[in-house]
Symmetry: D2
Subunit: 357 residues, 4 copies
């Protein structure tokens, strides 16, 4: 089978590999819709997770079950499924502790295009199929469904970790697709006023549809000053960091009320000065005492999460298809879609590639 792979840091290309083998609890999936992610860009062009050779990329997919292991009970070939970006080992120590995304070590639940081939192949492998796949309801179009595995799961997590209470004011720093999902997530968790920080008109339009009440243009002045002005010096009840440079936590701390969470969903691809340091401001952090907790997480995965996200879409609580800004048909367009994610043109939110099952 063929797949679009990272050949080495800085280089991608189509390769041929054997179709993956299916263990007793596993499934082999044929993708129906796939989407490149900024993480793929970090992985290939920034070497963010280190060197990889001939590893098929991609971790956002919905597909059709091609094969299942003999112990799989709930799925059979032909089923259309949502595949989470994160596929935990549910019996692991980390999962028993309540942190399945880190089964087997930090970020260990992230297997696709990290520890094994990703979803940008003709077929791909899923561990613990009964626990990690979810049936794709017919009502959800493919270009909406493919937002669930990572964009919605990560974006909503940003809002969940922010511990939003009804009527909170929330600032979302960054309105790329996970930032947009965080705005939707903040609304879903009961936020009142929601600041979205960004500049691109197409994204701003979706941000407002998803619940942003105020847009802050960081090109028109200092972000934290603008938000402090807009809140009469009070700051906000919660901050979601969904983008920004390596020093973005400083802005985040400056606009957080004491007691507010700084919920990070940013993947820090690099530190300040290209080093390994992410800075906190001592004063903005109240010298370590202002109760501005900095909380994080990795995209929640697994079957139940996907089923719950599907419920959100089915019942019209949020429409993820608005983020599918560029929809292609056919595997041949995948490389172009990935490069779009790298180059981020003004009107890009998220490219999607639809495939024949």
């Amino acid at each position: 089978m063929k797949g679009l792979a990272m050949l080495k840091i800085g280089e991608i290309g189509w390769i041929e590999k054997d179709k993956p083998k299916c263990g007793p609890s596993d499934a082999i999936i044929k993708p129906l819709a796939i989407a490149p992610c900024t993480s793929d860009v970090h992985t290939v062009w920034e070497g963010a997770i280190g060197q990889r050779h001939n590893m098929i990329l991609g971790h956002e997919a919905v597909g059709i079950v091609n094969e299942v292991g003999r112990e799989v009970k709930d799925f059979k070939p032909g089923d259309r499924v949502i595949v989470p970006a994160i596929t935990p080992d549910w019996g692991s120590e980390a999962a028993q502790r309540g942190f399945p995304s880190h089964s087997g070590g930090a970020l260990g639940g992230w297997k696709f295009s990290n520890f094994k081939d990703g979803v940008f192949g003709e077929y791909f492998h899923v561990n613990l199929a009964d626990s990690n796949l979810a049936l794709l309801p017919d009502k959800i179009p493919l270009e909406a469904a493919v937002m669930l595995p990572d964009m919605l799961s990560t974006g909503f997590m940003g809002a969940e970790n922010a511990k939003i209470e009804i009527g909170f004011s929330v600032a979302v720093l960054g309105i790329g697709p996970v930032g947009l999902s965080s705005i939707a997530g903040a609304k879903l968790k009961g936020a009142g006023r929601i600041f979205g920080v960004g500049t691109r008109p197409k994204l701003i339009k979706i941000a407002k549809k998803y619940g942003a009440t105020d847009i802050i243009n960081y090109k028109k002045g200092n972000t934290s000053e603008q938000i402090m002005d807009a809140t009469e010096g009070e700051g906000v009840d919660a901050v979601i960091v969904a983008g920004g440079g390596p020093d973005i936590l400083i802005d985040a701390l400056n606009i957080a009320k004491p007691g507010a969470k700084i919920s990070n969903i940013n993947y820090f691809g690099r530190g300040i000065g290209e080093g390994d340091i992410i800075p906190i401001s001592r004063s903005g952090w109240g010298f370590g005492m202002a109760q501005k907790d900095i909380v994080t997480g990795l995209c929640p995965g697994g079957r139940l999460r996907m089923e719950r996200l599907a419920q959100i879409v089915i019942h019209g609580r949020m429409d993820p298809s608005l983020m599918a800004s560029h929809v292609f048909k056919g595997f041949d367009h995948l490389e172009k879609a990935l490069l779009l994610m790298k180059d981020k043109p003004q009107d890009l939110i998220k490219p999607v590639v639809l495939l024949d099952g």
Copy 2:
């Protein structure tokens, strides 16, 4: 001044009293909009909190500040304010423990028409004005604003205590005004599928607008059986009890998944057989081990709560004015409004009386 009072159990009437006195931290308010509550009905006609003589009724109001004590900093005569039904003593032991509604003893934060005269007078008294009043934003019409002090605060609490996560299925037993607010609250906290249990067409219409996806008519069959059928025997992720007879917890337990919260906002005016017993079913409760926690609370009060609820309305997250089914103008209509609440005609949701400030 005059006020509509409980003369004794079973009897109401207009009385004359002195205008209340304003302590150093207090405020005297002249009502602009008031609403009778089912609790007033419990108090007068069921004697639910015991005997009271010539106590002015009512705890739902927005008004205009008439007088403030010398230590009040944030409010002045002429300010339009939202007055929470519950006005805690914020320095009390219970408040320091995190339970301000119970300051001074169980339900002790509930002062209006319980320990002191309520809001159905020409003037009424508010303790700790700076901590218990909230400015009424101009954008919010009076008939919407008067839903905040109790209906929204209590209804939303039902959803908050249910610990709803994104995509949860939720059943709301009862779709009177607090049940409707709980449906809206469940949506605000991220519920997917929401069952509303009720029969009256006008309320069903609002239930759907507020987020109910399925309506269960308890006259067409056993409530719990209908919900279990609809969920293929799984039950729901959370149950909010917003109405029902003294044995309603049995239904609630039967439809709750293990791990689901039973969030009660029902005021149990009486027990089974008119006694003091509220029954739990041993089997439905997993013999005490099924992790179906029964959680409760009293309407959250205070300034911050009202400010946050106002944010919800201002930013269009929910429109409480839909519940103001019967709007009257002038104090003279108050008695009729209260009797409507007692008699509950088919098309009643909530009566409101608007007053000249």
Copy 3:
């Protein structure tokens, strides 16, 4: 192999069965120490979970690994292990929701002597060995270790669910072995004053060693009145229900401050009047509004829980061997041990049977 079984409701006896078969992820264990539980008594003589025929009893054991399936990585024949009473399916929907003890349905993680043969046989079967077994540290004597699978796990859960904060006052209703473990658990979670309610001198002595500061003798007066007197009418910050009749929640509610949790670990073998009703008092519960939440759970199981409990014992935080009041050697004494649990003589806490590996 032989095993001590429930022949039918009301009758026990030794039976012969085939040695259980080991699936690919499973283990077969030979017990080293086993203990009868009050639940076994409920099961056999009260028929609490319904009819069973020739089902080997018991769910409290430590043992030696006899056989493992080919996918088991962390255990091998000869390893000494702690076996939790509850052995969840970790990939199940309930486990993903955070409630592994209810995998496959309410109480579904409880398999031994419920859905399959228990640990009172020469060999017994454990599902998902890597996720459900824990190595038994050499430092922990067998009669201490056998308290971990259920007594400590359940008793500590009672304290955990009570959400004890540093300096809380706590009442533990019942000082049998799970009640004693709850007292120890309350101390472990930071309680200050701890009331233990019981009468038997041997248990009172252990209760004090485990952290009880006040003993309430329910034969010397009404329990709730005694505790209200001792707290000058304030009540306690948390209540753990670890025993009592079907109406025990009424006492529990009466002594709970508003905001206090009623944490139930009692297995309600029967309701009032032998029916299915467990009563709550309407007034004690503040008419459903006093924020006295009634919370429950089933013994937490799995590997991590057992490992953590072992850490408590290893580091001397609590000594469970004090509860092993009657220690026997040899399988032949098992029936006597079980009958002791049924008859509960004055000096009984917990009988243990030690076996040759």
Copy 4:
């Protein structure tokens, strides 16, 4: 009256001031025992909170009530009281949000020797006496009691914020008096293995008495490497940062398991390179995704907190008097005691000055 004051940054001295005035809800206290704190050292010699002139120092005291305002109900002249270091405005917005220590702004509940004169005078002023004072039980000696206002409250908070579950492994970085209190707090919250990081023999002895099971000497090798070795590469379940330089969070992140909290109680008096930056390591933090939350707080204050801490001491859960390493009698010794805190000799834990009431 006289008091020991900060004259300006870098300089202390005795000054004369008028006895403070007592407002209607306030109290004037005459100290019985006072203790200097490292924060006083930060304030004077590092200028950590900026310039102050002739401000009386000190925020750790127990004393005797000298005068109360007319609205104070629960205290009267002659009462012996514990005075929390932090005395919140309980009706404030921050307190209603659940963060009383930050009433009126970040760290705003910290008034003594910050916004007003501290406790190192012959008399000092306490706001909201009924909500901020606690009766000092006779059983607690003064040198133990004076540890409650800050040392125990802050140290225990370190353990509370770490969300310790029964059997957790915990590392406490720093074993000065707040670090020691965190060790005791970790034990109180159910920790199993507890690492204490420090070198001074006298402190190590107390660390072990308070519950440390392993001592790590940072002079004998890299702290994080030693802890990773001791845990076989797993790291710990929670980290409490109770000391260290401006880059201490890097060590903390390196030893934290994914999912572990980094609970900071360190007062960062300066950043790296004397600047305003506190660094996080990008890799140790899992690029912002390893779910290693960095959580903080300011010493909890108020009456209830002090009452609860007193319960811990009364019931023998922990003995704070072990930390009173240098006890002086008479106001004249206060300057020496403060300089001890500045110079930190080998055998110093905490100096205490006892006074005639």
